[in-house]
Amino acid sequence: MSRKVSEKEYEKTLTFRLRQWLSGAKDPFLDTVEMKPQQQIRESEEVIREHELQHQRIVEHSYDVEHNAQVRLFRKFYKLFSVIFCLCLVFILLVGVSSLPQYGHEENPVNNEVSARYIERGLQETGAINIVTGMILDYRAFDTLGESHVLFLATCTVLILMRRDKKKYQETAEHNDRIYEPKNDVILQTTARVLVPFIELFGIYVILGGHLGPGGGFSGGAICGAGLILYLNAFGFAKTERFFTGKTYKCMCFGALACYSLAKTYSFYTGANHIESVIPLGTPGAILSSGLILILDICVGLVVSGTMYTFYVMFRKGGY
């Protein structure tokens, strides 16, 4: 059953007024509350200008740090507070340290069954001679997975901040840092020509030998990145861009991190569900041993070397 309502009647209903109020067409207080429409204020140009000047002066005055007593007081108070905070920190830390177990002793609480198992059975369980590598890439691999993503993330933030689009950066000379480069420095170029292959070789050696001795993906990657930076400095962007561009870095980073994540998913999944891992550990001491650790080291090395080089390029020039 519906009934027809005339427009006049409808306008009296609550629904209509609510809708009007919602759409802003009518003010519910109109006619009920006495309101005077505001007078339009007309100001002459001069007055406006004077106001602007005044505003300017107030801004200048309030941000005049040297002469603003309030700001100075606040700063002094802040400084005092911070200094007290730091002194308290030193005191608390020294008190804490003074009753810690003395360093260098075997019976300290740190040397418990956890480290004992790493040392005694690490070689059999991970296949890595370097116990530290075995620990960070197998026992506590979740940390390392996070850590390599920290690096990746830092690169992304640097890209956000420093990358310029091609059109823009050619506008000004300051942005194009090439002019600061030595154009044809014979000494630098000859030295680099001799040194860079050795640095790269050493970096690769450190990466590949991570499970056999000191080193690993991170340090080796940093060495490789440093070699690339030296090469860049000696020969300029034109040469390096032939083999290393932003696209190369993206693909490399994606490939390495994807490989890392996949490998770790496999080992986490099998570990948690108590499935035997099918990856052989190999004979300890051989270069192709210790299961996934070698692959992970290579992945980390790729990410790190690319990241270091990218940091440098972004800081220098803001684009590949």
Partner: protein
């Protein structure tokens, strides 16, 4: 024992979000956006399954990360509270991302859009890892991921305000994470473990034996202060208003509702699972939290009342809400912590709603954020206006909405605590009054008819219909629904949280 397939989902969630980071980097902006939304929804669905599974089982379980059992390998621990938090964070993040999309697409350079999704994905992964992890050092690494990605989200629109805010944010966070790391090192030096449950056993032994009391307290203090600095507790909040006030909407919503909550959740874990809540309560640290929490409530509310920029006003209100949460810790009872957890939920649901609707309001008012320019904005953008009103009412603590329940829980927790009852109740009352003052002022302004301001100032004002951005209207609806659910059906949620908290120990 082998796991059911569902029990692998937490691992899949973490790995999927981590993996989607590099994925978004090689994709173009539009595809990265789809990947991002897909990943968040997938993680949300998986978390829902985990929650149902854990509730059906009625207990938490430990998931080994690798082939080695507890003290040697890494592990994650899944319980009802963790799964619920993961689900809730995913919902909030999804809604904030959809709700902020139009403004984000306008503000961010097209070539850098995919990098923004990298940040969001990794932020989600770090939140999930912080929720699930059972290892202090892993927590540290993911705290760093959280910090860096939050910084990236602040500065994605590069103007002076955001750059300065990002720098200040980084400095504060670095101070905090330095203290946190040092605290972890102290604790490691005393116990020789990094896994939370093992540390708790060792700490209990130390306390029983009465040895190493001073360094233990130093370690606890360092970790607590570090996390308090990171989550912008009152004297360390200087970066917050600019960071939330000038970054893009989705960033502001996610930062205010999720990032600092990740740290606070870690702090709760440290209380219950690393040190033991009794030891924390017996130390003086919670009193410090109590005092600074109340100071933060007062200061944040007063600053918000003095603020004329609507986004900064909401940001200052965040300072006050973080004060509430720390005050709940400061009460030193299980009830207090429960109230804080509920406040985390209600604040997350409300604050993101407020940020998204405030963006809608200023869009209809020539992109101005000054309260005076927002006159009548509630008529021009009806859905945003209503959403803002709901959010404001919830913040104030109006019955029906979530803020009411959390305030009641705080009051209940305070009543049981004789010494701290009076200051807590007074602070709650005062801060509620201040909340009313500034939120209701904003609501009145946006519903004042436009006629009262001169015509020449109305330039750029435009009407935004609900059909202009249908997805945002849906987002508002979801947010309001979430608020109503938290406000009307609080009992099962509180019980769930209490059960989960009970399993923490």
């Amino acid at each position: 024992m082998t796991h059911d397939f569902v029990q692998n989902f937490p691992l899949f969630c973490i790995i999927l979000t981590l993996f989607s980071g590099p994925c978004c980097m090689i994709l173009r902006g539009r595809w990265a956006r789809y990947v991002n939304l897909g990943v968040i929804s997938a993680v949300g669905v998986m978390s829902l399954f985990v929650l149902l599974d854990v509730c059906a089982r009625g207990g938490s379980y430990v998931y080994m990360m690798g082939h080695f059992p507890a003290p040697w390998g890494n592990e994650i621990r899944v319980g009802p509270l963790e799964a619920f938090m993961a689900l809730f964070f995913c919902i909030i993040m999804l809604l904030s991302m959809i709700g902020g999309a139009p403004q984000r697409l306008r503000k961010i350079e097209a070539s850098k859009e995919n990098l923004y999704y990298v940040m969001v994905n990794l932020l989600l992964s770090s939140l999930l890892a912080l929720i699930y992890t059972n290892d202090l050092f892993t927590a540290y690494v993911f705290v760093e991921i959280n910090t860096i990605s939050a910084c990236g989200m602040i500065m994605i629109c590069q103007n002076g305000h955001t750059l300065e805010a990002a720098t200040r944010y980084m400095i504060m966070s670095l101070l905090g994470s330095g203290l946190l790391l040092l605290g972890i090192c102290f604790l490691y030096g005393l116990t020789g473990h990094l896994l939370m449950s093992n540390i708790k056993e060792a700490v209990a032994q130390l306390v029983a034996a009465g040895t190493y009391h001073a360094p233990l307290m130093v370690a606890v203090g360092l970790m607590c202060v570090g996390l308090a600095i990171k989550s912008a507790l009152f004297p360390f909040h200087s970066w917050l208003p600019d960071a939330y006030g000038y970054s893009t909407v989705s960033s502001a919503a996610i930062l205010s509702s999720l990032v600092s909550k990740g740290y606070i959740f870690l702090l709760i874990k440290i209380f219950y699972r690393v040190i033991g809540f009794d030891i924390i309560c017996n130390s003086k640290i919670i009193n410090i939290f109590f005092v600074f929490g109340i100071a933060g409530m007062m200061f944040g509310s007063i600053s918000a009342a003095r603020e004329t920029n609507i986004r900064r006003m909401i940001a200052f209100s965040s300072v006050a809400q973080i004060g509430y949460i720390y005050m709940g810790f400061g009460l030193g009872t299980g009830m207090g912590v429960l109230a804080s957890i509920y406040h985390i939920l209600s604040h997350a649901a409300t604050k993101s709603l407020l940020f998204v609707s405030a963006a809608g309001l200023s869009e209809s008012s020539a992109d101005s954020r000054e309260l005076a320019d927002l006159t009548g904005a509630g008529y021009r953008n009806a859905s945003a206006g209503m959403a803002f009103t709901v959010g404001a009412l919830s913040m104030v603590g109006f019955p029906l909405f979530s803020g009411f329940i959390s305030k009641i829980l705080f009051a209940q927790a305070a009543v049981n605590q004789s010494g701290k009852m009076l200051p807590t109740l007074i602070a709650l009352a005062l801060s509620t009054i201040l909340n009313v003052i500034y939120f209701m002022r904003a609501v009145i302004v946006i519903y004042t008819p436009l006629r009262s301001i001169p015509a020449e100032r109305r330039e750029g004002y435009r009407r935004i219909r609900m059909s202009t951005y249908p997805q945002i209207t849906v987002v508002f609806g979801c947010f309001v629904l979430l608020n109503l659910v938290l406000g009307l059906m609080s009992q099962p949620i509180v019980e769930l949280c209490a059960r989960g908290l009970g399993m923490f120990g």
